[in-house]
């Protein structure tokens, strides 16, 4: 397929997934704060910190509070990772490849975009939780429509590759929110509040019910294990890496266990690292440090995918 088209379908999926995960971010924080003692209700800076854009935020908004942070992450059109910006970018990408994706996919992206745009003009703060639920559902609808109406061809695999790399990265960041929230009050570790927080976190990753089926008891180590290493839960990092790798190999037709380009090598190495690591080793290394490492590697994979498939060198390939 055309390099430009592969690029667009990859980013279309990344942006939709990113919008969904921003909604999860804000949601996890809202949930955590609702269940927290009053002293913690101003924990909004950590949320921006996990996006990596705290400096940018402070330049524009000053000190973080709920209204400012939610506006920044949700409706700020000048912030490129806000939900509305993601949807705008997703829609632009979809518009440039409408003949590749199914009409149903386009309709869903377009409807999704218009829904967020309408919400950004209304903005009743009281209805925000239902708004984030709608964003999540719209994203799920997009994925479902994609799976059910588009041939699972090269383009579809580029889309899934983009979506899962984005999701792996964002699950890492959602876990990190807890880390930042905990920082000021280490005393809470192991208390009832702590357990409530972990539950809220699992719920925000749509993982609470599935976690219960697997682990029953809530413990920080088990939650980390579930969200990082579980091979069956579709939002766990390892699940994402396995599926992303599968799509990458479908695209290149390389044999499993080998690599023909840097994207395959970096992704394969990260996936096999998670195959054999234990959660105890992760905790020992430091959960935050480990999540940071995963995010760095995923960034590399992203660059390498772009160099391998989207920026086709003329000289190299004229055969």
């Amino acid at each position: 397929m055309l390099s430009r088209v592969a690029d667009s379908i990859y980013w279309l999926n990344r942006y939709v997934e990113r919008a969904e995960n921003i909604a999860r971010f804000v949601d996890v924080n809202l949930n955590l704060l609702l269940d927290s003692p009053v002293v913690m209700t101003q924990q909004w800076a950590p949320l921006v910190m996990t996006t990596g854009d705290l400096d940018l935020f402070k330049q524009r908004y000053g000190e973080p509070n709920a209204d400012k942070v939610i506006h920044f992450l949700t409706f700020d059109p000048s912030y490129s990772n806000s939900i509305i910006s993601c949807l705008q970018a997703a829609r632009e990408n979809a518009r440039s490849i409408r003949e590749i994706i199914s009409s149903e996919m386009w309709e869903q992206v377009n409807t999704f975009y218009l829904m967020v745009k309408d919400a950004s003009q209304a903005q009743p703060f009281a209805q925000l939780p239902s708004f984030f639920a709608e964003v999540k559902m719209a994203s799920h609808l997009f994925v479902g429509v994609t799976d059910a109406t588009m041939s699972h061809n090269e383009g579809w695999h580029f889309g899934r590759l983009g979506r899962l790399i984005e999701r792996a990265d964002k699950t890492a960041r959602i876990l990190d929110v807890k880390y930042f929230i905990l920082l000021p009050e280490v005393n809470y570790v192991g208390t009832a509040i702590d357990e409530l927080q972990w539950i809220a976190l699992l719920k925000s990753a749509s993982g609470y019910e599935m976690y219960r089926k697997r682990q029953r008891r809530i413990s920080p180590t088990d939650v980390a294990k579930f969200l990082i290493l579980d091979r069956e839960f579709p939002r766990s990092i390892q699940f994402c890496l396995l599926q992303a790798e599968h799509s990458l190999y479908q695209i290149t037709q390389s044999s499993p266990g080998t690599w023909t380009n840097l994207a395959e090598r970096t992704l394969g190495r990260l996936r096999s690292e998670l195959d054999f690591i234990t959660v105890e080793e992760i905790i020992q290394m430091g959960l935050h440090e480990f999540l940071d490492h995963i995010q760095t590697e995923l960034n590399h994979v992203g660059h390498q995918i772009s160099e391998t498939f989207f920026a086709v060198e003329l000289v190299k390939s004229s055969s």
Binding site: L2, R4, V5, A6, R98, T111, V312, L314, S318, S319
Partner: protein, 476 residues
């Protein structure tokens, strides 16, 4: 009874013979509409518009740098034509396209029609659409105009005329297909009871016409649609047609000439392209041959075309045949190449480069429509009766400075179709653009795009000037 108050007045109305008396082919629809409440009609109108917006059937507004998209306003009352009348129009269109294609073949090779003094040589050589670079070229299968959108109008007496031939990159067919899709959900019962000619095979016919041009012996020729990009006003249509045909939509930056072929950049390296359906004007397709500043085309594309390794639809050079001065010679072409009389008449046209006719035009500017010969889309045009004295003086000056570039025609009183305005119907002027494909045979998509002037009393149907569209039904 929604139509009780509707009066066609002193106009040719496409749905009514006189007040209260529908044309036979429209009777069923009128009966159905009369059975609905006005609120219900308004609701369906709104639902249809919403559906089009949701489907993204939009055009971009050039002047608006926000990248705003708008839908072409859509009216749910269709224009209806009887089968018999359509059969006659179809014959006329096929005859016309046949003759125009023979003209293009001739004008870029032997130029017999010039040698026999049917058309003055000076007119051809001064036509902006005449491309010297195409002289001596024979496009695959001898076909030049693969896709044509011919504008037809009907005057106060019900007489049909050809207003202009669009042989370069006519747009609008996507509205025909999507309007129909929406209408089926708007009036499902009517579709069940009336025998309305389907339009859906357009994409298959277009693909066949394009595949017909591929070099012989290729098991799977690659066909692409070439678009200027997503900011072009007709981008939706480019992408829609590529999708409906299942071919790649490419931009100039996706293409490169390598190893003597046109190739596209893919995730697995370069891939050869055999046929392009281009939606970019001649001037822009190859900066090495035509406009050097074009960023939209592909350097070297014309060399590949000349070498016979690429088919281009429409063929470069077709613009000479829709020059508005050349247009006035189409009846002569039909006689010259086919030995037949024209079926569809032209609008009487005054050519300003002839001094007698120019004098007549200048003396009657307040009654005529003046058009620039090489323009389209309603640009470079003066509607005399609606113009100010200053505008008329300005055009008089232009005509005298560059007489070759102007023609004038009487102001036609276009036929009308009832159109929903708020809570009642008003007659609005319409034209009709059928789409004609030249593949193995000539095919005319049944119906076409009915464009409607939505500003009260306006005769201008172009989307840039407040025009909208209607579905067009050919019925038994």
């Amino acid at each position: 009874m929604q139509f009780d108050q509707y009066n066609p007045g002193d106009f040719y109305d496409e749905l009514f013979v006189t007040k209260g008396q529908p044309r036979p082919e429209a009777a069923l629809l009128i009966e159905r509409i009369n059975s609905l409440s006005i609120e219900e009609l308004q609701q369906r109108q709104q639902a249809a518009q919403n559906a089009l917006f949701k489907l993204g059937v939009t055009f971009n507004v050039y002047s608006d740098n926000q990248g705003t998209e708008r839908i072409l306003p859509f009216d749910i009352i269709p224009r209806i034509l009887s089968n018999q009348e359509w059969a006659w129009l179809e014959r006329g269109l096929k005859q016309r396209i046949h003759a125009l294609n023979l003209f293009l073949t001739d004008i870029y090779s032997d130029q017999k029609i010039l040698k026999d003094s049917i058309i003055p040589r000076a007119l051809i050589e001064s036509a902006s659409g005449f491309l010297k670079a195409c002289i001596g070229l024979t496009p695959p299968q001898g076909i030049w105009c693969h896709v044509t959108g011919t504008d037809l109008v009907r005057d106060r007496n019900g007489q049909w005329y050809v207003l202009e031939d669009n042989l370069r990159c006519p747009s609008g067919v996507s509205y025909v297909l999507e309007n129909r899709r929406v209408m089926k959900t708007t009036f499902p019962q009517v579709f069940g009871r009336m025998n309305i000619a389907p339009v859906d095979d357009y994409a298959s016919q277009l693909l066949d016409a394009l595949l017909n041009l591929a070099p012989p012996g290729l098991p799977e020729p690659t066909v692409v649609v070439l678009t200027p990009g997503m900011y072009n006003s007709a981008y939706f249509e480019h992408s829609f047609l590529a999708q409906q045909m299942g071919v790649e939509l490419v931009e100039g930056r996706d293409l490169v000439v390598a190893d003597g072929y046109l190739q596209m950049r893919t995730t697995k390296g370069l891939k050869r392209v055999d046929v392009i359906y281009r939606r970019i004007d001649d001037d822009f397709i190859d900066p090495l041959t035509f406009r050097a500043d074009s960023m939209l085309g592909v350097p070297g594309l014309m060399d590949v075309y000349r070498a016979g390794r690429l088919a281009i639809a429409n063929a470069p050079g077709t613009g000479v045949a829709d020059d508005k001065v050349i247009y006035s010679y189409v009846p002569q072409m039909i006689r010259y190449y086919l030995g037949e009389d024209q079926i569809l008449p032209n609008v009487p046209t005054f050519l300003c480069w002839e001094s007698e006719q120019q004098k007549h035009v200048l003396n009657n500017l307040d009654q005529l429509v003046v058009k620039a010969a090489g323009e389209s889309g309603g640009y470079g045009m003066l509607v005399g009766p609606h113009a100010t004295p200053e505008q008329r003086a300005e055009f008089a000056g232009k005509i005298q400075t560059n007489p070759r570039n102007y023609i004038a025609q009487p102001t036609l009183c276009l036929s009308r179709v009832p159109t929903l305005f708020g809570d009642r119907f008003e007659g609005c002027h319409v034209d009709l653009r059928p789409y004609i494909l030249y593949g193995k045979e000539i095919y005319v998509n049944p119906g076409g795009l009915t464009r409607v002037a939505l500003r009260r009393g306006s005769l201008v149907v172009n989307s840039s000037q407040g025009g909208g569209s209607k579905d067009t039904w050919i019925v038994d």
